[in-house]
């Protein structure tokens, strides 16, 4: 295994970390409208992710930065090619971060309601668009001999990629509902469990369609294994939450996300961004990667930093391990 193969795996790990963590906080954002019945319940939901959403989002910046350093060509083609969807994601993430931090800074109901609308939409849209982006990466897009994306916006909005977007949206919302069940107490907790089962079933239908389609078009034996793990753990996650075991369910929905990301990356390898125009023009782990020296330095950095990050981020979740209910929210706001 060469260093660029190691980095292919590490990039997959960073995206898995991002989708696992920001996945549930996107889900919580969507649930502020689907699950919460009043302002107080919305606040309960927002506060389950309050201390952690920012740290979760850094996984995206790490995935982006690491792609830039380890696969400059991939970074350049991907972000200049998927220009407008990425622009929308960035605008959403800007508003979303400000919304969390500023919402409670004024007591007026209208001020808070506006930020709550913002949280809903800016969680829903990126959750959908990341699926569209990854659907397109796996399916292959129009890349020319100079590694430039030569398609347009409409080429990106094909049925397969849109199905991918619906899968990430529903999967993250399901993951968020399970997280809500795990982190809240009282009436909202039992409703979160009920909603999680319904969302889980919808996700199962969509995900099965998307994963089978992926497997049929681009799959191999290893991706089939990952697909089976994803599907089985999704079923287990739904079963666990309907039995009231939110902790197990959350672990399984996490495995589902990891296995789904693994499957997409396994269908890609050794490409990182296949060209739909000519196989010879595809970006691969070798023609898109940095020099061995850079990869070596990056390996040291990621090898030491990532476990440390996991340790202190894990510690954060332990500090804020208590469930939150409406009675924990002061009336002052």
């Amino acid at each position: 295994m060469e260093l660029h193969d190691v980095w292919f795996v590490l990039i997959a790990v960073l995206w898995t970390g991002y989708f696992f963590l920001e996945g549930f906080d996107f889900g919580i954002g969507v649930l502020t409208k689907l699950l919460a019945r009043d302002r107080k319940e919305r606040r309960v939901l927002i506060n389950t992710i309050g201390p952690v959403w920012d740290g979760n989002e850094v996984w995206l910046l790490s995935a982006g930065g690491a792609t830039f350093a380890a696969f400059p060509e991939w970074y350049a083609t991907l972000f200049s090619g998927f220009y407008l969807p990425l622009l929308v994601i960035l605008l959403c993430l800007i508003v979303r971060g400000v919304a969390f931090e500023y919402r409670a800074k004024r007591p007026e109901e209208r001020w808070q309601a506006n930020w709550e609308h913002a949280i809903f939409w800016t969680s829903l849209i990126p959750a959908f668009l990341w699926g569209v982006a990854f659907g397109n990466i796996v399916r292959g897009v129009k890349i020319d001999a100079d590694m430039e994306y030569v398609g347009n916006l409409w080429d990106l909005l094909n049925p397969y990629a849109i199905l991918g977007g619906l899968v990430t949206l529903s999967l993250f919302t399901f993951h968020g509902a399970v997280f809500a069940g795990l982190k809240t107490v009282g009436d909202i907790r039992s409703r979160a469990r009920g909603l999680a089962v319904k969302l889980g079933l919808a996700t199962a239908v969509l995900a099965l369609g998307f994963l089978v389609w992926t497997q049929a078009e681009n799959g191999n034996v290893r991706s089939l294994v990952a697909m089976i793990i994803a599907v089985v753990s999704l079923v287990l996650a739904i079963g666990a939450v309907s039995a009231g075991r939110e902790g197990w369910s959350f672990a399984f929905s996490g495995v589902t996300i990891a296995a789904a990301v693994a499957m997409l990356f396994l269908t890609l390898f050794p490409n990182v961004m296949p060209s739909s125009l000519d196989d010879a023009w595809s970006l691969t782990v070798s023609n898109a990667s940095s020099s061995p020296y850079t990869l070596k330095i990056m390996t040291w950095c990621a090898g030491i930093a990532t476990p440390v990050v996991l340790l202190y981020q894990g510690w954060t979740y332990w500090v804020f391990r208590k469930r939150i209910g409406t009675h924990h929210i002061a009336d002052a706001h």
């Binding site: 927002i46 201390p51 982006g64 972000f79 407008l84 800007i94 850079t294 950095c301 804020f320």
Partner: protein
């Protein structure tokens, strides 16, 4: 294509707008994190409540500010790929590494511990909670370092080779990239300038309250902290700026000549205070200057030779082939002056303030004030300033509190514009760096999108800051004074409302 709307021009404008905007929040974040951490340390060590109230007050302003810094920083990470894909392809092997280091080491640190600090008041023992804000501060400083190492490589590329076959720069010595003199001096200069911003911010807001005789106990302390910060940071900014100027003179002589609008080389070159030039003709029409000073800034002697813009342009044409290697001279000239002018004005006012509010040192006993009194402003021995003059000082301090921020912005505009037409000095030109596949319409859309959103957010942010500035430090609650002694909070408090919630 219309030059004003050429993709390169638009991409440069977008980079300028989003980066200058991002950097309005960065220096305040860096300095307020450390200053808040310092105030909280004083609270933990002394148990004096004024420090806790100060921590909560400045901490709140810090949080309103860092939120904007964080979200506008996301754009920076992806903008290279979106608008500058050919740049990314060419430099990614070198430039990507410090960016990835920043995310993996600094950004994770900052973002995780800020969450712990915000929500941790009733979940963490006092000292661990204090450690969290220090972690945030360390994160901001590490982040500064990695980003500046990346930028310094654009100013003065080292530790790389050109791979002709792949058509790109490749890293050969990462340590050199991190520790070259450009990176170290630029880091020193940026950090000290950041503390100048935070210090002046504290002084201005303290002056606002002291002029109204409100929240005196907290604001007296804050004023002091702010003034000492301004003076120390101002002095170090000047020293580091001078060092950076000498580094720049060696590495980018064109930038130095442009900063001075020095068209022809001279022995004992002057520092011009004011000049109006004609770029096409290559000379200044009007100029007011002090002889010898530029030579001193560049080389530590008043007589040494400083090459002019026309000389260097010719030299560069011989080295790199035909072309115009001059940056925009008026922009370089004026941004350099505004950087120094605004920064040093703030330093001077800080020095004055520190003298006016001096404590026992050289101050007669009758003029000393207690904890609950607004400090008397004393210019000369034995006599306090008249109320009118005192008011004038407070108002000046308030209205000049953003001077260092203006200086920071012009400093960056100078650094980046003065390097043109290069994006990586001597190696890669800006016109070759833009994304070839991105259309004019796409760049225009994103530029308008970001600018409009940033404008709206600026209004919201400033209004929110004003609200919390005017409100002053909060009253302390029972819970504030009795932090938990175990991690996660006490079980008997399980049903109490959270000390902080969104």
């Amino acid at each position: 294509m219309d030059l004003a709307l050429a993709p390169e021009t638009l991409a440069r404008w977008q980079f300028g707008i989003t980066t200058v905007y991002h950097f309005l929040f960065v220096p305040l974040t860096i300095s307020l994190a450390a200053l808040t951490a310092g105030l909280q340390t004083a609270w933990v060590r002394t148990d004096n409540e004024k420090y806790l109230r100060a921590t909560k007050f400045w901490g709140k302003l810090f949080l309103i500010n860092i939120a904007m810094g964080v979200v506008t920083g996301i754009v920076q990470e992806f903008q290279f790929g979106m608008n500058w894909s050919d740049y990314s392809r060419f430099v990614g092997d070198v430039f990507g590494a410090p960016l990835a280091f920043e995310a993996l080491i600094a950004f994770f640190f900052e973002s995780t511990f800020i969450g712990l600090w915000i929500f941790g008041w009733d979940k963490l023992p006092k000292k661990i909670h204090l450690a969290c804000i220090w972690m945030v501060s360390i994160g901001t400083i590490l982040s500064t370092f990695f980003i500046l190492a990346a930028n310094s490589w654009m100013q003065h590329p080292v530790g790389y080779r050109i791979n002709e076959e792949r058509g790109r720069a490749e890293l050969t010595d990462f340590w050199k990239v991190l520790t070259q003199d450009t990176a170290l001096t630029q880091f020193f200069h940026t950090i000290t300038a950041a503390f100048l911003v935070g210090g002046a911010f504290m002084v201005g807001i303290s002056a606002f309250h002291l002029a109204r005789k409100k929240h005196i106990r907290v604001m007296r302390t804050s004023l002091r902290v702010g003034l000492v910060t301004v003076v120390a940071a101002g002095m170090l900014t000047a020293v580091s700026g001078d060092t950076l100027g000498k580094v720049m003179f060696k590495q980018q002589p064109m930038k130095m000549a442009a900063a001075e609008a020095l068209w022809e080389g001279e022995d004992g070159a002057p520092f011009s205070l004011f000049a109006v030039g004609d770029v096409a003709e290559g000379h200044n029409d009007v100029e007011v200057s002090i002889p010898g000073v530029l030579s001193f800034l560049a080389d530590n002697t008043f007589t040494s030779y400083v090459p002019g813009i026309n000389d260097i342009n010719k030299e560069l044409q011989e080295t790199y082939g035909p072309g115009d290697y001059r940056p925009n001279i008026p922009v370089a000239f004026w941004s350099f002056r505004w950087m120094i002018g605004f920064g040093m004005a703030s330093f001077g006012l800080g020095l004055l303030g520190l003298w006016l509010t001096r404590r026992k040192f050289l101050l007669p006993a009758a003029l000393r004030t207690g904890e609950d009194e607004v400090p008397k402003l004393v210019l000369f021995r034995n006599k306090a300033l008249s109320p009118k003059l005192a008011k004038l000082y407070w108002i000046t301090a308030l209205w000049t509190m953003l001077f260092p921020l203006i200086a920071n912005s012009w400093g960056w505009i100078f650094t980046e514009m003065g390097r043109q037409p290069w994006v990586v000095y001597g190696v890669f030109q800006t016109r070759d760096a833009v994304s070839p596949g991105v259309s004019q319409g796409e760049i225009l859309t994103s530029m308008i999108g970001f600018t409009a959103l940033y404008a709206v957010l600026a209004v919201i942010e400033v209004k929110l800051l004003l609200k919390y500035v005017k409100a002053g430090p909060p009253e302390l609650t029972e819970a504030d004074l009795n932090p938990p002694t175990r991690i996660g909070g006490h079980d008997e408090d399980a049903d109490r409302p959270m000390a902080f919630s969104y």
